[in-house]
Structures are given as C-alpha cells and as structure tokens.
C-alpha cells in the first residue's frame, strides 16, 4: 500500500448559509450569517463575501449583534463556545467557553451583561429537551474566558431559534413549543402559559412554528403549522388574554418578524412570497412574490431599510423595504439528491449539478460561490407540496463546452412518463447557454446514460443517449435543410439495439472512434463512423455498472465494473481481458487530463478510494474509509494552475482535483499538505477600507496594489511581512523624544526580538503583530483589545521563550509611553 500521510480529505465549501437567521449590521452594509463552522460577512450591496470569521470548531448555531456595541457580534456554536467578533475587521475579540453545545443565542439591550442561550436540559448531548438559560458574562478582560455562571430561565423550550423572542423593552421573553406559548416576565419572575387545542374542527394544525414580539407594544405574533398567524394581546393575565388570527399562507408559516418601528409585520413560508401586514390594519397587505424558494428566515435591519430573507435553496435575498430585491447571495444548492452527475463546465471550470428544482447550477469551486443558475425546465414553479415537478435527471457537456445536453422528466402516478431532451448552445455574447433544440419524448422510457463524443478537433459533435426502452440513439447537429431562418438543429442520426437488452451505460473513447455501450452483462463496442458493431466483450456474471475508456497512454484499455464486485480491464487491441480484480466498486471515473482512474469502493459501510493507472498493477494512491456510506457522485476538476508535487502518492493531484459528494450531500475533496500550507499562508485577508464598497473590481485593484507594495518591500528585504511593521516600530522609537522613552537597555531586547524571524510559528506571530497595528489605531476600546492581542501574543510566544511576563510588562510600558504623546501617532497614521 502506498503511504498517504500528507493527503487529507477536507470539506470544500458549499456549507449552508440559510441555517440560521442572517443578521444585518447597524448601517445595513454588512450581512452576517452562520455558515458551517464559520460566520460569513457579506456586503449587502455587492453580494461579495468580505470576511470569514473562523474560529469555531463545530457548527455555528447563532449569530447576534452585540446589543451594547453595534460593531461587534456574538456567535454561538455546537462546540460549546460563544465568541465575540469585530465583524468589520474580522477579528476575534473574546471566546466564552460554556462547555455545552449551544443551540441558539439571544440578547437584549435591556439585559446588560447577560446572554440567553439554549442548551440541552440534561448534560448529555442526545437529549431532546432544551432549556433557555441566562449566561452571565464574566467581567474578566481575558481573551479566553470560562463562562460557567448561568441560570435556567425557562425549561422545555424549542430548539428552533425562531420560537423564542424578547418582548417590548426586554420586559418579557416569549417561547413557543408544540401547542404552548410561554411568556416569562423578568420583573415578576413569573411565566404564563397559553395552550391551543391540537386540531380545530377544520383539521388545521395549531402547532406553533415561530414567533415575534412587537417592539413597542404588548403584542406577540405567532406563526402556525396551518398557515395562520395569531396576534396575542393582553397576555400578562392568565385568563383574559386575547388573540386575533390572520390567514393568508396556505401552509406552515416559517418566519414572522416585526419591523423595528413595529408598523409592519413580515411573514413568509413555503409559498416563497414575502407578506407584509400593516400592524393594526391587517386587511392591508403587500406581497413580494416569486422569491425563488421557501422562505426560512426573515431579518430586518435595525433602521428598517433592508429586509433579508433566507431561503431553503441556500440563498439570502436582500430586499429594499418590501419592493425591490437588491441583492441575492446564493450558496451551493443541495437538493435531496443529485440526479445529474457532477460535471465540470469546460469553459468556466465550474461545478455543474442540480440546483433549484428545474435548474442546473454552476458553482465556482475556487470562489465558493454560485455563478449562475440555468433554467432548464422553463416553467413557472408552483410551490405546492405533493405536486410532481419536472426534474433535470441527466446533463452532459461536450469537450469544449459549446453544447450542453439535458434530460428532464416528470412521472405522474398514473400517466405516462414525460421526457424532454434539450440541447443548449453556448452563446458567446450573453456568456450563457441558449436553448437550441427540444426533443420531446426522445425515448419511450427513462434515459439511463448520455454522453457526448470527445473528439476535440472535429467540427461535428455527437450525442448518444441510452434508454430503458432497449434502444440507444445517436443525435447529430444537422443543418437546416432549406429554410434560412432557422439555424442548425439536432436530429436523430442512428437508432441501435442489441438483442432487445436494456443499455445501461455508454462511453466514448478519448479520440471518439469507439463507442462502448453496456447491455447488462455484455459490453458492445461500436464504430460511430459507420455504426458497425465491432465486437462484444463480456465477463459474466453480473451486469455492467460502469464503463470507462482509458486516456492518453492507456487509451487501449476499456474498464468496466460489474454488479458482482468485479473490476475488469479489457485490452481493445486484442479484445481480451487484461486483468480483473474483485472489489465492490460503486463509482469508477477517469481523469480527463491524465491516464489515472479513480475507483470508489464501498466496503463495510464506508468507502475506500483507489487511484490507479490501467497499465500498472499497483495503485498510485489508496485511502481507506474516506467517508461513511456510498459515494455515487464524484468528478475530476482541472486545476487552475498545476501543482508541482513530485511525491509519487500525490502526483495524481497535480493536474486535477477530485471532488466527491458523500451520502449526506457534503462536498469533499482531497488536499495535499503543501497545498494546505499555501492556502493557510494566503488566508491573510486584505483589510478593506470602509469607505469603498467591496466590488470584484475593487478586490482586483486592491490585489494589484498589494502586489506593487510587495515589490517595493522586496527591494528592501526578502521578508515581506516583518519589515513594514518593523519599520513602524523603528519610526516610533526614532520619533519619540528620548526623555519619555524607557531606558535603552530595556528597549533593546524588544527591538531585537521584533526583528527576529520566528520559524515555528510565523503565522501566529504575524497575526498578533497585525492586531497590534489595529489596536494602535483604535484608542477607545483599548483595554479590551489590548487584552486580547496580548493574550494571543502570549500563547504564540509561550513555546519559545520562557519570559512572557516580561514581554507583557514591556509592552504595557511601551503603551503607557505612547499615550503620553499623540502627535507623532497622527503623523504616523497619515504616512
């Protein structure tokens, strides 16, 4: 077996951004949302990701603006910590270690120094019961704080974060679970409980789904399973409470939200319509329809200007006061399953897979961003459960990305299968695909496989589709016969069958001269030029599951996997079996840029990966248990720039990268150690000027500037990150009057250390120094900042030096000195 110590399986992008309610910053310029293990900060006007707030080690379960400082945000995570961030600059300020997984987080401006968190009732994680607890923030200025001081407020609350909200002036907190609404008054220390009957006469479900409290009035709006919204009033009495009902939604209301002034109530649900109700004039309502997918969360900016809705298709929509969609932030859409295979668009190098219903999404792997959606079905999507919709089930690109073929199908219970084969031509002008030909009913039964001919040089392309009706058809681009007004269109060129068996998979050889189609146990090899059956290959028992031609130097081999755990390799020159091995291959695919093949084998509940060359008996790389469950979708994506790895085990990753989807729809990839290090080094982000909106253009320009600066720095010295900051330190020293400086012997050791290049922990060193710079600029929140930066510096240096306390003292001294005279500082800032 080959060593694989330096290749790891990692998650790559595509995490949910609609998991929790997004948060709009005070000036509505930034949008924070929990995304996997980090918090993403987007610009609400340009849709660009400004920062990734990284630090949590598990799923982030809540993001909240700090009620006492609007430039800071709290985030809580299932790793049992609450972190405080400066989100404009992307700096971690404080970490509170709670020790239990936290499911959601609440705060109110009227409860200073207290955070409200939802944790499990029992200490074990499996418990289904949750409680709301008040977490008293420790006053310690340290960066890492243990926060164990919490008291339970409400027992038995819902884990859904939308079901708890603070009331007017923080006087009470309302929580809904099941059929009960509970309101807890902080002053009286008393809670009231209101219950609804499970079902009313009409069979509607009264279960609470979400709630929101009016900011100025004693009113609680609750959303219900059956689409009703109830407005509760007078709830500070056990018996005299009242509620009124609003009904527009036809199924569960997933989010309700009052605007900050309390004039409007927003609600949304599966209909994907944002409804705006006037408070106290509930008959008047405004609609914003066709938002694309079911609304899961609604957020409102503190000034009420912008609304932000999160949608079930992993999308955030920024709406300007309920009339206009101003920005759409779209992540990777993960449906129930990927019916089309994973593909890479040869032009944009984007990953292509099923997206929204009836769409194909083009997802940039490098930028972790959806590039665009291609509407395949082109029909109005009706948001109604239980309705059979058209689904895109197959898609294929030709080699140059000029043509895209898609198959959509819709199967109703009793009627016949509806199939459409669509061929899309790439339009240079609009930079997207334009529908060229629609073939309705290309086959009589489901299409099992579809592929384009691979020839790169020839003018004509060919598409082959195989279907359960026992036929395979070849489609070719035909010139319009006589009429000039139509362009070329695709038409059927050949229909083939083999002993009325069902074709399962098809594959073209690299040069397009051979077509292999498997009919159960038999592989037939055809010549696409003359449609002659050249030969048949068979290795019973077991039907063929996957077929793959070798590439480049191995193009004489045809590989197939059978349902009876056999991987066979035929030599096409001799038409004999070259070798075969017994393994349960769930997926076999070939790298288009090299002769390597990857085989995913499911073995005892998890999947192993083998990368091999068909001509060599020994695998290049193998990795046991890359994930649990079966891998059925994977793709080789070409790299933007080749990796220069010489190690044998990682050479296969040089030209392309292998991405795969696990059973739970996680997108994973393989990463080498060298690459990981490089990524880490480049993760130092640009500090973006607040006055400039973060546009792609700005990022480009900023990068350019940075490079220029870098060049200048290089002329000074080889080390780039140390010196600019070092020079600042020198300037500080030189410009400060000598009589206010501490003694030279005191400063000398510090100065020398600042020039040292630390080898082991250069990264953290840099970071700490960078933060030092930041803290220089902000004098107001100095105490806290200082504590945090010093804390980190301490951890960084703790390993190498035995005298951290001295350093700390020295630094404090230096700061004290600096505070004496600010004139030199201002000039420094100008420079």
């Amino acid at each position: 077996m080959v060593e694989h110590g330096d290749i790891r399986v990692v998650h790559r992008g595509g995490s949910k951004i609609n998991f929790r309610e997004p948060v709009l910053s005070h000036d509505s310029r930034l949008l924070l949302c929990a995304s996997g293990e980090c918090v993403k900060v987007f610009s609400s006007s340009t849709e660009e990701c400004v920062h990734d707030l990284q630090g949590h080690t598990d799923l982030v379960t809540g993001v909240l603006l700090n009620p006492s400082n609007h430039l800071q945000a709290y985030s809580c995570s299932a790793d049992g910590t609450v972190r405080l961030w400066d989100f404009t600059d992307g700096i971690l300020i404080k970490t509170l270690v709670v020790g239990f997984p936290i499911y959601s987080l609440y705060a109110s401006a009227h409860h200073n120094g207290v955070l409200f968190i939802v944790i499990s009732m029992a200490s074990d994680k499996r418990s289904e019961l949750f409680q709301l607890a008040a977490l008293h923030l420790p006053q310690s200025g340290d960066q890492l704080v243990e926060a164990r001081e919490f008291s339970s407020v409400l027992g038995d609350v819902s884990s859904n974060p939308a079901a708890i909200a603070f009331g007017q002036g923080g006087e009470y907190i309302a929580s809904a679970k099941g059929l009960h609404l509970e309101v807890y008054f902080f002053k009286k220390q008393k809670s009231y409980r209101f219950s609804l009957k499970e079902d009313n006469k009409k069979g509607a479900k009264n279960t609470f789904t979400c709630l929101s409290c009016h900011p100025k009035d004693d009113c609680i709006a609750t959303g219900h399973e059956d689409g009703k919204i109830r407005l509760w009033r007078n709830f500070n009495h056990k018996r005299e409470y009242t509620y009124s009902t609003l009904h527009w939604h036809h199924s569960a209301v997933s989010s309700v939200r009052f605007t900050p002034e309390g004039t409007n109530l927003l609600s949304g649900g599966v209909e994907s319509v944002l409804v705006q109700w006037r408070y106290n004039q509930e008959t008047q309502k405004d609609f914003l329809p066709r938002l694309g997918a079911a609304i899961t969360h609604i957020a409102v900016s503190p000034d009420g200007e912008l609304f932000c809705t999160a949608h079930s298709d992993n999308k955030l929509t920024v709406i300007q006061s309920c009339v206009k969609v101003s920005a759409v932030i779209q992540g990777l859409v993960k449906g129930e399953s990927v019916r089309t295979d994973l593909m890479v668009d040869p032009r944009s190098k984007a990953l292509v897979l099923n997206g929204k219903p009836g769409h194909l999404q083009f997802y940039s792997l490098q930028r972790d961003k959806q590039l665009y959606n291609l509407d395949i079905v082109q029909q109005e999507y009706i948001h109604e459960s239980g309705l059979q919709q058209f689904e895109v089930v197959k898609a294929a690109f030709d080699t140059r990305g000029n043509w895209l073929a898609t198959v959509e199908e819709r199967k109703q219970k009793d009627s016949t299968l509806e199939l459409n084969l669509k061929l899309w031509a790439y339009d240079e002008q609009t930079q997207s695909f334009v529908l060229n030909t629609t073939v309705s009913g290309p086959h009589e039964a489901r299409i099992t496989a579809m592929c384009f001919c691979h020839t790169a040089d020839s003018q004509t392309t060919m598409l082959v589709s195989a279907s359960q009706d026992g036929h395979f058809k070849a489609w070719q681009l035909a010139e319009a016969a006589q009429t000039e007004d139509e362009g070329p269109f695709w038409s059927c060129d050949f229909v083939g069958a083999y002993h009325s068996l069902v074709p399962e998979c098809c594959c073209f050889s690299a040069d397009g001269s051979l077509l292999a189609i498997s009919f159960q146990e038999v592989v037939t090899v055809w010549s696409p030029a003359s449609w002659e059956l050249l030969t048949t290959l068979s290795q019973p028992p077991g039907a063929i599951r996957d077929l793959c031609f070798g590439r480049q130097s191995c193009s004489k081999y045809l590989l197939g996997t059978t349902a009876k755990n056999l991987l066979c390799c035929w030599n096409l020159l001799t038409c004999t079996l070259e070798w075969s091995t017994s393994m349960d291959v769930s997926l076999l695919l070939s790298d288009p840029l090299s002769e390597n093949m990857a085989a995913f084998c499911s073995h005892a509940g998890c999947t192993d990966l083998f990368v091999f060359k068909p001509s060599e008996p020994r695998p290049l790389f193998s990795h046991k248990a890359i994930c649990s469950g079966k891998v059925t979708r994977a793709v080789f994506a070409p790299r933007e720039e080749m990796l220069e790895s010489c190690e044998e085990s990682s050479q296969w990753l040089n030209r392309s990268q292998l991405y795969f989807l696990t059973q739970y729809m996680d997108l994973m990839t393989f990463i080498t150690k060298a690459e990981e290090d490089r990524l880490m080094a480049s993760s130092k982000r640009l500090v973006i000027d607040d006055s400039v909106a973060v546009t792609p253009f700005y990022l480009l320009l900023g990068k350019h500037r940075q490079q220029q600066q870098e060049k200048q720095d290089r002329s000074f010295s080889a080390e780039r990150n140390q010196l600019p900051q070092g020079s600042v330190a020198i300037k500080e020293l030189l410009h400060t009057p000598a009589h206010v400086l501490p003694s030279a012997s005191f400063l000398c050791s510090m100065f020398v250390r600042s020039l040292l290049i630390s080898v082991t922990d250069s990264r953290e060193e840099k970071k700490s120094e960078e933060e030092e710079m930041e803290s220089d600029k902000e004098e107001e929140s100095e105490c806290e900042m200082e504590a945090s930066t010093m804390g980190q510096g301490q951890t960084a240096e703790a390993q190498e030096t035995a005298a951290p306390a001295l350093t700390k003292a020295q630094a404090r001294e230096l700061r004290r000195v600096k505070k004496l005279d600010h004139s030199w500082l201002s000039s420094l800032l100008d420079s």
Partner: protein
C-alpha cells in the same frame, strides 16, 4: 425576484411540405386551362422566337397555340397516321414532324401543306429535329436507324444503323451542327458526329430511353428511361454523374427551367418533379390527373404545358406580379410601422437624465389568469372560439399546464351546458390528433368522471358525448386494423431475414 414564466406552447413540426422559395415559385401559377385533344399528346415544343407559340402533337394532328389562346392558332392535319414529334426550327419558321407512316414532313409555319416530304425510313419516325445550322434534319425511327437529311435538296445525307432497337428520342447540339445524340429502347445513348460514319460515344442507361435533354452548356446530358433519370458528363467521356429514382413509373419527358437551375421530369405516374440541378434533390412536385407523356416550359417559365395520355392538354400560366401583390395587399390593414416606433428612436442629448423604466413583460391573457391562479378563467380564455379552432396547440398547452399544476380538475368542473358543450366540441375535434392525444385523453377521462352525474339531463351535451363515443369507437377500430397490418409486416420482415441470429441466453 424572478418574473412569471409564461406557459410554454409546444411547437409541433408542420405537417405536409415545407414552404421554401421553390414552393412559392412553382405555386405561383394560375389554375390550369385544360384543352381536350383528339388523342394522347405525345409532344409539346415551344417556338424559340416570340411570341413563343407552341406546337402540340396529338394523334394525327399538330396544333399550334398562341401563348394565351385556348384555340389553336394553326393546325396541321395532313397526316395519314399518328404524327410524332412536331418541332420548330431555331428561327421559328419551319416545323418538322415524323409520322407513323415513316414519312417525315416539313412545314412552313404559315402554310398548310408540307414543304418537303422525306421518305426513306421503313417504320414509324418518332424523332425529328433540326441541326443547329438549320439546313439539316435529324430523324430517328422504329427501323433502328437514324438519318440526316438535307432540307434544300430533300435528300438523305447519312444513315446510322447502330441501335438495336427503336429509337425513341434524339437531340441535336445547339452549338455544333454536326453533333447529335439519340436514345433507344436498346438502353443505350449514342453520340454521333456527322463527319464520321459511326457513333463517337455510347452510354448505357440501363432502361429503354424515353427522353433526352442537353444542358445549355452541352457539357451535361440528361436521359430519362424507365423510372430513372440519369445525368451524364459528356466532357468526361460519358461518365454517369447522378442517377435519380424519384418516380415510380416510367419517366417520359424532361425539361429545363429558363434559368437552368431546375430540372423538370414528367412521368407516367402523373407527377412532374422539379429538381435542383446543384444537388439533384426534389424541390417541388406537381400532380396531374392522368399519365403524362409530354411537358413543355415556356421561356421565363411563363407557363407549364403538360400533355397526358387521355388527350388533355393542361396549361398553367404564371400569375402576373399585380395579381400576387393584390393578395398580399388585402392582408395589410394594420397600423403603420411608424405608429410603433414613435419616440423610440429619440437619442438622448448630453445632459439628459435617463429614467429607466422596467421593461413590462407582455403576457397572454391566459398567462395573466394563470399568474393569478384563476384556473377556470384561464381555461375559458384558451377555449375561446378563435384559439380553439385556429390555434388548438394553445388550448392544449393551457390544459397541460393546468394538469401540471394539479388544478385541471378544478378548472374543468363547474361548467354550464354551453361551456361543457364547447369543451366537448374541442375534444371531439382534437382528441385523436396524435400530437394532442397524450394531454387530452386524461382530460377527457376527468371530464367524464366529473360530469357523469349530469348525463341525460341536457340534450346538447348528450349529442356531444354521443359524438365523442362514435369518434372513440372509430379510432379504436383504426388502431386495431393498424396493429393487424403491423403484425403482417413483422411476419414478412422476419421471413426475409432468414438466417436468424441466435439470441443469447438471458
């Protein structure tokens, strides 16, 4: 926010022939004028000089018709037996014709009596033509010989006896006075040079040759015989270029359109086919009532004259340009173009502030109603009389969309007598159309389910339902017949592929 996506109207391939430039050109003829001749019309020849009269050889007479007259301008009746192949000389002054009695007669177009009689053939003369120097006549006869005659002396110049069967067609070169080609029932075409005493080129057509045609450049020769039309390259020594088999009976006559771009062939299968001479594809087709023996095309394609075995001469005249304009003028009663572009071509000045207006999406009425989820109303709109009869695909598309939305039942239900009768009327008209059946059959079942309780209450609806039942019974009968035929065909196909390939054990 995405905009509403309108209902997709399925585009069905147009049945019947496609409208091309050729179709438009060859359809642009008036209704045919039909003249009854005394017997089968064997030859039609247009005079090369204006006003382009044409000689029609039928039974024992040759009639000369003017371009627009329906009565013969002139008749030559002095034939003892059936006349053949009346042809004009290139100056339009003389006409030559063969006869069953083996005598070749030469007429002055203005006279009545034959100027010359050429005797020498021993059997019927079926082929006559003038050479390009105008002084000689070529004849071909059933006595297997072809001869050249001198007009002034009325003497026989040469005789070639190379064919071994009847000579039924021949043509002289327009560019060289010595060259001529004959086609015979011995399947061969022979190119003769009058300066030598034997044929210089022989081509095998493979079928008894019925007609010959030389391209204006005289590099290519077209021959017709049997079901085939063949094109030969004379400059490459008679190499066959194309063989066309588009008729299903013997091709009798060939003709070239005025610009030389189209070739016409007439056949006993009652069709005239028009070929494109660059790719030899059939671009148009004329149907006639009887088997066609002769075909003539006036210069500039002004008229197509066709003679048939039943003695009918059919003349089609091209529509004049005013007539075609008149028809198109009738349709043009819409607001002028400038009404629509009013103000759209305004170019903003330098300091103008441009207020952009969102582009308003235009939706059809049924789409507007679908957008508001007014399903019944949308179906009503789609069932409006004009749509229902002229654009049934729209109605079907709306029904399909409603079915996709799962609201078809709601849309179909709750209709009064008139509405239901309208709906049933549409179904009766379109249910068995194979393009619409997959959509309409479930809809019909749904209607029957919904309205089964009201059957027998309204005579109007009952009549429609009865019609629907009849239609379905008839259709089922057809399907059964078709399946039977299919079964028979399968049996025959299986019998023909005798060496059965063994099936693999499954």
């Amino acid at each position: 926010m995405a905009s509403f996506k309108p209902t997709k109207i399925q585009v069905y391939p147009k049945l019947g022939e496609k409208v091309t430039q050729d179709t438009l050109y060859w359809k642009n003829y008036k209704a045919p004028v039909q003249i009854k001749e005394f017997g089968a019309v064997t030859n039609i020849d247009f005079s090369p000089v204006a006003p382009h009269n044409y000689a029609v050889t039928a039974f024992t007479r040759i009639h000369i018709y003017g371009p627009f007259s329906q009565e013969p301008v002139k008749s030559f009746t002095r034939f003892k037996d059936t006349a053949y192949c009346g042809r004009f000389r290139s100056d339009g002054q003389l006409l030559v014709a063969g006869c069953e009695d083996s005598v070749v007669r030469l007429f002055d177009v203005s006279g009545k009596v034959a100027l010359r009689m050429f005797k020498g053939h021993t059997k019927a003369v079926r082929v006559t033509d003038f050479t390009s120097d105008r002084y000689h006549i070529l004849t071909g006869s059933d006595d297997y010989t072809c001869r050249l005659w001198d007009i002034p002396n009325s003497t026989e110049l040469t005789s070639y006896q190379e064919h071994t069967d009847y000579i039924r067609c021949g043509i002289t070169s327009k560019l060289n006075r010595d060259l001529f080609i004959t086609g015979s029932y011995d399947h061969t075409l022979k190119l003769f040079d009058a300066r030598v005493n034997k044929s210089v080129m022989t081509m095998d057509h493979g079928q008894p040759v019925e007609s010959l045609l030389l391209y204006p450049s005289e590099g290519l020769l077209v021959s017709a015989g049997g079901r085939y039309v063949k094109v030969w390259d004379l400059l490459k020594g008679g190499q066959p270029l194309v063989s066309l088999k588009n008729h299903h009976k013997t091709v009798t006559c060939l003709c070239l359109s005025s610009n030389g771009q189209r070739l016409l062939s007439a056949s006993l299968d009652r069709h005239v086919k028009v070929y494109n001479t660059t790719n030899y594809k059939v671009v148009h087709n004329f149907d006639y009532a009887a088997s066609i023996l002769s075909l003539g095309l006036a210069p500039d394609d002004e008229s197509i004259v066709v003679g048939m075995t039943n003695g009918i001469l059919s003349i089609k005249h091209r529509k004049s340009s005013e007539e075609t304009k008149e028809i198109s003028g009738q349709q043009k009663r819409r607001p002028a173009y400038r009404v629509f572009v009013k103000g759209k071509n305004y170019v903003p000045k330098q300091d103008d502030y441009l207020v952009s207006k969102p582009v308003k999406q235009h939706l059809a009425k049924y789409d507007k109603q679908l957008k508001r989820f007014n399903v019944s109303k949308a179906l009503d709109t789609a069932l409006e009389t004009w749509t229902r009869f002229r654009k049934p695909e729209i109605t079907v598309a709306v029904i399909k969309e409603l079915d996709r939305r799962g609201t078809l039942k709601n849309a179909l239900a709750g209709r009064d007598e008139r509405g239901l009768s309208q709906l049933l009327n549409f179904l009766v008209g379109n249910l068995v159309d194979p393009r619409f059946a997959p959509v309409l059959v479930p809809a019909t079942e749904m209607i029957l389910d919904i309205y089964q309780s009201v059957i027998g209450q309204s005579p109007v609806v009952d009549v429609q339902l009865q019609r629907l039942q009849d239609l379905l019974e008839r259709e089922i009968g057809y399907q059964q017949d078709l399946l039977e035929v299919l079964g028979m065909l399968d049996t025959m196909a299986k019998m023909n592929t005798s060496p059965l390939t063994p099936h693999p054990p499954t």
